[in-house]
C-alpha cells in the first residue's frame, strides 16, 4: 500500500480541504484523519462509525491516601511538578513515568491507564476512513496518530485499497512526525504569506530529515503573487516540485458549509486545479 500525507507546518493553509477533495477523486483509497487534536475531515466526509476503540496513550499516577504518610519523597523526585503540596496528582502535568511509584516507601502510588481518546474505523461515501478524537485535555497524540494509521492499514487490507491518504496535523513536532513516518510522499500545502513561507521551509526540513520525498501546493496563490514567486523559486532551488497552484475562492467555504468536498460541490477553476494536482500525485505514487 502506498501512503500520502498532507502537511503544512502552519495551520489553516487548506490541508483538510485538499485531503477531502483527493478522497473523492481517488478511486481506490482509504483516508485517515491524523489531526487528532482538532479533526475536521469528518465534518465533510460524514463517516458512519463501524468500530470504536478506546485508546490509552499515557499512564497516570494515583495516590492511595490511606497508605500515604506525606513523606514528600514523590514530590522531591517528580520532574514534571505533577504532585501538589497536598499530594494531589495534577492531571495535566503527570507524564506517567512511574518515578513516584518507585520512590514511595509505603506503596501508596500506582500507575493506571488514562482514558486518552477514541479511535474509529468508519465508512463514508467514498470508502473506508480511520479517525480519532482525543479526550478533553489529554496527551500522547503521537501515539494516537500511530493507532489511526494502523487502523487505516487494516481497513486497506480488508477493503483491498492500494492507497492511504493521510490528513496531517499542523506543526513539526511529535504528531507530525508520527503522521509522516514511513510514507511514500508528503504534500506540503502552503500559501503566499510570510508566516506560511517561513513554516514551509521548516516542515520541508522535517520531511528531508526523515528522507521522505515532498511536493508542494501553493494555495490562495493569487493573494500575493510576489510571495508565490518566492515559493516557486525556493522550491526550484531545493529541487522540490510545485504540483499545484490554487486560486483563492469563496467556493471553498461554501463547499464546507454544504458538507461537500470542493470537487463535488463545484467545477470552478480551483476544483479543476485540485483535480490536475491529484492526477499528478497519483502518477508519482504509482
Amino acid at each position: 500500500m502506498k501512503q500520502l500525507t498532507i502537511i503544512s507546518g502552519k495551520g489553516g493553509t487548506g490541508k483538510t480541504t485538499i485531503t477531502a477533495s483527493f478522497t473523492s477523486l481517488a478511486k481506490t483509497a482509504v483516508v485517515a484523519d491524523c489531526d487528532v487534536d482538532a479533526p475536521d475531515l469528518h465534518l465533510i466526509l460524514k463517516p458512519k462509525i463501524m468500530e470504536v476503540m478506546r485508546f490509552s496513550g499515557a499512564k497516570i499516577a494515583v495516590v492511595d491516601y490511606d497508605k500515604c504518610s506525606e513523606c514528600g519523597r514523590c514530590i522531591e523526585h517528580c520532574r514534571f511538578d505533577a504532585i501538589s503540596e497536598s499530594y494531589e496528582i495534577l492531571e495535566n502535568r503527570c507524564e506517567g513515568c512511574g518515578v513516584c511509584e518507585y520512590v514511595c516507601p509505603f506503596g501508596a502510588i500506582r500507575l493506571i491507564n488514562r482514558e486518552s481518546g477514541m479511535a474509529y474505523k468508519s465508512f463514508m461515501r467514498f470508502g473506508p476512513m480511520a479517525h480519532a478524537l482525543l479526550n478533553t485535555a489529554q496527551e500522547a497524540s503521537g501515539k494516537l496518530v500511530a493507532l489511526v494509521r494502523n487502523n487505516a492499514k487494516e481497513l486497506a487490507k480488508e477493503y483491498e485499497k492500494e492507497l492511504c491518504i493521510i490528513d496531517g496535523p499542523p506543526g513539526i513536532g511529535c504528531p507530525v512526525i508520527a503522521a509522516i513516518a514511513g510514507v511514500n510522499l508528503v504534500l506540503a500545502v502552503t500559501e503566499p504569506t510570510l508566516p506560511a513561507i517561513h513554516d514551509l521551509e521548516r516542515i520541508l526540513g522535517v520531511a528531508h530529515h526523515f528522507k521522505i520525498p515532498a511536493v508542494v501546493c501553493i494555495n490562495k496563490c493569487d493573494i500575493n503573487w510576489e510571495n508565490s514567486k518566492k515559493i516557486e523559486e525556493y522550491c526550484k532551488k531545493e529541487s522540490i516540485d510545485v504540483v499545484g497552484n490554487l486560486p483563492y475562492d469563496d467556493v471553498v467555504t461554501e463547499a464546507m458549509i454544504a458538507e461537500k468536498t470542493v470537487v463535488e460541490f463545484s467545477d470552478s477553476e480551483i476544483a479543476k486545479n485540485i483535480t490536475m494536482m491529484w492526477l499528478n500525485i497519483e502518477r508519482r505514487l504509482s
Partner: protein, 305 residues
C-alpha cells in the same frame, strides 16, 4: 537516589510555576489560542502587543514561530534549551534490563549484547538512573531547541525554536514561559491544536483569547478548545476573524453559551494583503489599535472584578 533528587531540583527551577500569585501584585498573562490553525492567533497577539506597548510577547508556538515576522526586530540567541537523557556506562552494564523495563516511553532497549538509547523518545524522568542496580546511569543534557529574544516598539519579545526532527515540544514551551515577568503584561502566542503543546502554553494564564473563524471547521475546533480551557479553569473570550465569510454559526454559539465576543475582524483584502507581507494591520489601520486597547481593558475589568 540523592543524585536524582538533585537533578530534579535543578529541573524544577526551570518549570513554570503553576501556583497563581494574587493578581494584586502583578500584571496579567493573556494567552492567545485556537484549536484550528491559521485562524489569526499571531495576528491578534502581535497587534495587541503593538497596540498596548510596554508588554512582553512570548511566542510559544515553538514548532512554527511566526510572531517575529510582524515585528521590526533584531533577534539574538539567549540560550539553548535541553532536557536530561541517560548516559550509560556500557563497560560496566550487566544488561540486566531493569532500565528498559522501567521506561514507560520505550526509550531504552536491552539486547543480548547491547543496550540502546532512543534519546528522542526520552521524557527525562530520570527513572532509569534510579532503578539501575549497578549505578552506572548518569544524566546528560540533550538540546531540543533555542530561545531568542529582542526588543521592538516597547515590546520585550521571546520565542522558542524547536530543532528540526525533534518531537519533544513541551519543555521548550516551559522555558519560553519562564521569561514572563510580573511587572509587565505578558501576551502568549500559543500553538494550534488542543494537545500537550497547547496545554503547556496556556496553563497558568489569567485569560485566554480564543481566535476562530465563522466556518464549520472554525466552530468545531472552537468547541473542543473551549472544553480544554474550561477544564483548566481559565476565563476566556472569543475573537472572530475573517468576519463575513461563512455564516453566523459562531455568533449563535457564543450567544447561546454566554461567551463574550471580544472583537470581530472583518474579511478584508487589505488586512489579508498586509498579513501576507508581514505587516501588522494596526500599523496601516490605526483605528484598530484603539479597538485592541479597548479589548484589553474589557479583559482587565473582567479579571480584576
Amino acid at each position: 537516589m540523592r543524585m536524582h533528587a538533585k537533578n530534579t531540583r535543578a529541573i524544577k527551577k526551570n518549570l513554570t510555576i503553576i501556583t497563581r500569585i494574587s493578581m494584586e501584585n502583578r500584571e496579567m498573562k493573556i494567552a492567545i489560542a485556537s484549536g484550528k490553525g491559521g485562524t489569526g492567533k499571531t495576528t491578534v497577539a502581535t497587534n495587541l502587543a503593538l497596540s498596548l506597548g510596554n508588554v512582553q510577547l512570548l511566542d510559544c508556538d515553538v514548532e512554527e514561530p511566526n510572531s517575529h515576522l510582524f515585528l521590526d526586530i533584531k533577534l539574538i540567541k539567549t540560550e539553548d534549551v535541553s532536557i536530561l537523557v541517560p548516559k550509560i556506562n556500557k563497560d560496566k552494564c550487566t544488561l540486566c534490563g531493569k532500565c528498559s523495563e522501567f521506561c514507560q516511553y520505550h526509550a531504552l532497549a536491552v539486547l543480548p549484547r547491547d543496550v540502546l538509547l532512543f534519546p528522542e523518545l526520552c521524557h527525562g524522568c530520570g527513572g532509569c538512573a534510579l532503578v539501575c542496580p549497578e549505578n552506572i546511569i548518569t544524566e546528560e543534557n540533550r538540546v531540543i531547541g533555542v530561545i531568542e529574544s529582542g526588543q521592538s516598539s516597547g515590546i520585550e519579545f521571546y520565542h522558542g525554536i524547536l530543532n528540526i526532527g525533534e518531537p519533544m515540544v513541551s519543555p521548550l514551551i516551559h522555558a519560553v514561559k519562564r521569561k514572563a515577568k510580573n511587572d509587565r503584561v505578558a501576551i502568549i502566542d500559543s500553538p494550534p491544536g488542543t494537545g500537550c503543546p497547547f496545554i503547556a502554553s496556556i496553563e497558568g494564564s489569567d485569560y485566554c483569547i480564543l481566535v476562530t473563524e465563522p466556518t464549520p471547521f472554525g466552530l468545531y475546533d472552537l468547541t473542543i478548545t473551549i472544553g480544554v480551557v474550561r477544564k483548566l479553569s481559565i476565563p476566556f473570550g472569543v475573537v472572530i476573524n475573517r468576519y463575513g465569510i461563512g455564516d453566523s454559526r459562531i455568533d449563535t454559539y457564543c450567544e447561546k453559551e454566554a461567551i463574550p465576543v471580544l472583537m470581530r475582524i472583518p474579511q478584508e483584502k487589505r488586512i489579508a494583503t498586509l498579513y501576507s507581507s508581514g505587516v501588522p494591520f494596526t500599523k496601516e489601520m490605526p483605528e484598530w489599535s484603539e479597538k485592541f486597547i479597548e479589548l484589553f481593558k474589557a479583559i482587565e475589568a473582567e479579571i480584576r472584578s
